[in-house]
């Protein structure tokens, strides 16, 4: 399918799901839970652009996500700040915040990439972990956005698109999911994706083949960071109380690694499968057992998959397809030899 066709199809599917769920589900909690699952589709897809396609493991998802969230918090307070200088601006709409969050996180991604991409393998992973700590420390000490106390965000009284505010957030997150999945799929089929795969498989050989590895890796960190920031931008309105402890939660980093690993890292489908399965299990566990169980579930599943299916669910499927293709090929050769 062409990228344009796929974009339209994905948008229609997203729209259909939004419309149907908004008609059939009246319980607000459904939208709270579904929002989280969709948010993880964006995060794990974004993580996979760098981690799955180019092979650079990023443990700093929390940082990019929180940068998006805090840039929204700043924009939320901006009209009040400007008013003290007698500049009157209307409240910033959420879609604008998402774009700004994406841009800020993308710039941080680019900068991080520039500083760290000369590091390979585990050193890059450690550097991204350090980034999380640095950004969290900065936020904790930034009084304007509440510092370690956190900040209360009051939702607008009226939600656009009809319905309650949580339905609005859910719809926006669905749009972000569609956009990020389309970007991931486009990359996979483009020259860019081929270059990413070459970098993942062997960076020296990629350079020798003419691939400008540094530039491509910077594109990957920027895109990945930007999408993570966009996923984080609506967070203040979702939680209504934003604090460093929850927005930099380790769960974001762990989940956005675990989901592509469980789903499969080489294709855009993998992160979706991982996010839907893991996200749903976590939401169910939160309601039925306890919220503390979440990370335990992730941990156990991650260990199981790393041992049993290191290429994730998609890897299992494609291995099966390859085996069948090999059997068919052997049969054809046998028949040719017999003839």
């Amino acid at each position: 399918m062409r990228t344009g066709t796929f974009l339209i199809a994905a948008a229609l599917v997203g729209l259909a799901i939004v419309v149907l769920t908004r008609i059939f589900f009246t319980n607000e909690y459904f939208f709270f839970a579904a929002y989280v699952v969709l948010q993880y589709i964006v995060l794990s897809t974004a993580w996979n652009i760098l981690g799955g396609y180019t092979g650079y493991i990023n443990f700093g998802t929390g940082a990019f996500f929180a940068i998006g969230a805090y840039s929204s918090a700043v924009l939320h307070k901006l009209p009040a700040l400007l008013k003290t200088f007698d500049i009157l601006i209307p409240a910033v709409p959420l879609p604008v915040m998402i774009v700004v969050g994406g841009i800020v996180s993308g710039i941080v991604g680019l900068g991080t990439g520039y500083l760290t991409l000369r590091l390979r393998g585990v050193f890059f992973a450690i550097a991204t972990l350090a980034l999380s700590v640095v950004v969290q420390t900065l936020i904790v000490n930034w009084d304007y956005v509440g510092g370690s106390r956190g900040i209360y965000i009051i939702r607008p009284a009226q939600a656009p698109l009809g319905g309650g505010y949580i339905q609005y957030l859910y719809t926006l997150m669905m749009a972000l999911s569609v956009i990020s999945v389309c970007i991931a799929r486009w990359i996979e089929r483009s020259r860019l994706g081929l270059g990413f795969a070459a970098i993942r498989d062997d960076e020296l050989a990629a350079e020798a083949g003419g691939v400008p590895t540094l530039r491509l890796k910077l594109i990957a960190t920027t895109l990945s960071g930007a999408l993570m920031g966009m996923a984080g931008a609506p967070l203040p309105y979702y939680v209504t109380y934003l604090d460093p402890g929850s927005s930099f939660n380790l769960a974001y980093a762990v989940n956005s690694v675990a989901m592509p690993v469980i789903g499969g890292m080489t294709s855009w489908v993998g992160p979706i499968i991982g996010a839907v399965i893991l996200g749903t299990i976590q939401q169910l566990a939160t309601v039925t057992i306890s919220s503390a169980l979440n990370l335990l579930i992730v941990g156990v599943l991650l260990i199981l998959f790393v041992i049993i299916a290191p290429n994730g669910i998609m890897g299992l499927i494609s291995a099966r397809q390859r085996r069948r293709a090999a059997i068919i090929e052997a049969a054809v050769q046998q028949r040719q030899a017999a003839a």
């Binding site: 020259r191 081929l194 270059g195 795969a197 070459a198 993942r200 498989d201 062997d202 020296l204 050989a205 990629a206 350079e207 020798a208 083949g209 003419g210 691939v211 400008p212 590895t213 540094l214 080489t266």
Partner: protein
């Protein structure tokens, strides 16, 4: 020397090239020139700096001293992919296939990123496909086009490595131990491939330990010992050189 040599000067001119790793001098004051169309054998004992020299010339490593002119153009400061685009290709001593990509995609990388990146070139998808098949055909891998590199034998892996280097449409190709660990008949196969490439106009530098292969392939020999060039000339003459004998056979 080769008749194809142009009057414009050598294709590659290296002067005073030096490379250290900490206190270890890997290459010292290397001067050499390679003319268009030549088949040069680069030999030397293990650890003499052959691969380091290739790495410096191809931009994988940075040489501390000296300069490299390629077709009259200084390469100093250019990174590996820029040199590849100028027409300097290499195969790796240990094959480095893109192991998650099938053979076609392995070749699409250099076609899309090198050939198409050169000004005035733009292969369509169909052109790229045809060129991939042509390249695989040339090394007898066409029937494995959709396979992954892990399904290949050792000699097929070497051929893929060469095909991927040739896909960049180079003017100068460094074949770094393209035959290590192969059987005599497989060595003949690779030599035949290299000779055909040379006839097509690609200047080739062969880094190799198998002397029979080097002697039958090269029109000129360069000998490196302990990071220094100790001989440079016609193969038979170089092999009679007492210094070379000493390096290879001991006192």
């Amino acid at each position: 020397m080769s008749a194809a040599q142009t009057a414009a000067g050598p294709l590659l001119a290296v002067s005073g090239l030096g490379k250290r790793f900490g206190g270890f001098v890997a290459l010292e004051n290397i001067d050499l020139t390679i003319a268009e169309g030549e088949r040069v054998g680069l030999i030397g004992p293990n650890g003499s700096g052959k691969s380091t020299l290739v790495n410096c010339l191809c931009g994988t490593l940075r040489n501390e001293t000296g300069s490299v002119l390629f077709d009259g153009r200084p390469l100093d400061g250019l990174i590996a992919h820029e040199r590849t685009r100028l027409g300097l290709a290499r195969s790796f001593q240990l094959p480095k296939p893109f192991h998650t990509l099938n053979l076609i995609d392995n070749l699409r990388v250099p076609l899309l990123y090198t050939v198409n990146a050169r000004p005035g070139h733009s292969l369509s998808d169909a052109d790229v496909r045809a060129r991939c098949e042509e390249l695989l055909q040339a090394v007898a891998l066409a029937d494995k086009a959709r396979r992954l590199p892990r399904d290949l034998t050792q000699v097929e892996m070497r051929k893929l490595e060469l095909a991927r280097a040739v896909a960049t449409e180079p003017r100068l190709l460094f074949a770094d131990e393209a035959m290590a660990g192969l059987s005599p008949s497989e060595v003949e196969e690779i030599i035949a491939v290299l000779l055909r490439l040379n006839q097509q106009g690609i200047t080739i530098v062969l880094i190799e330990h198998i002397m029979r292969a080097v002697m039958s392939f090269s029109t000129r020999l360069l000998v490196l010992v302990a990071g220094q060039k100790i001989a440079d000339g016609l193969p038979q003459e170089v092999m009679r050189n007492p210094e070379v004998e000493r390096a290879y056979l001991g006192e």
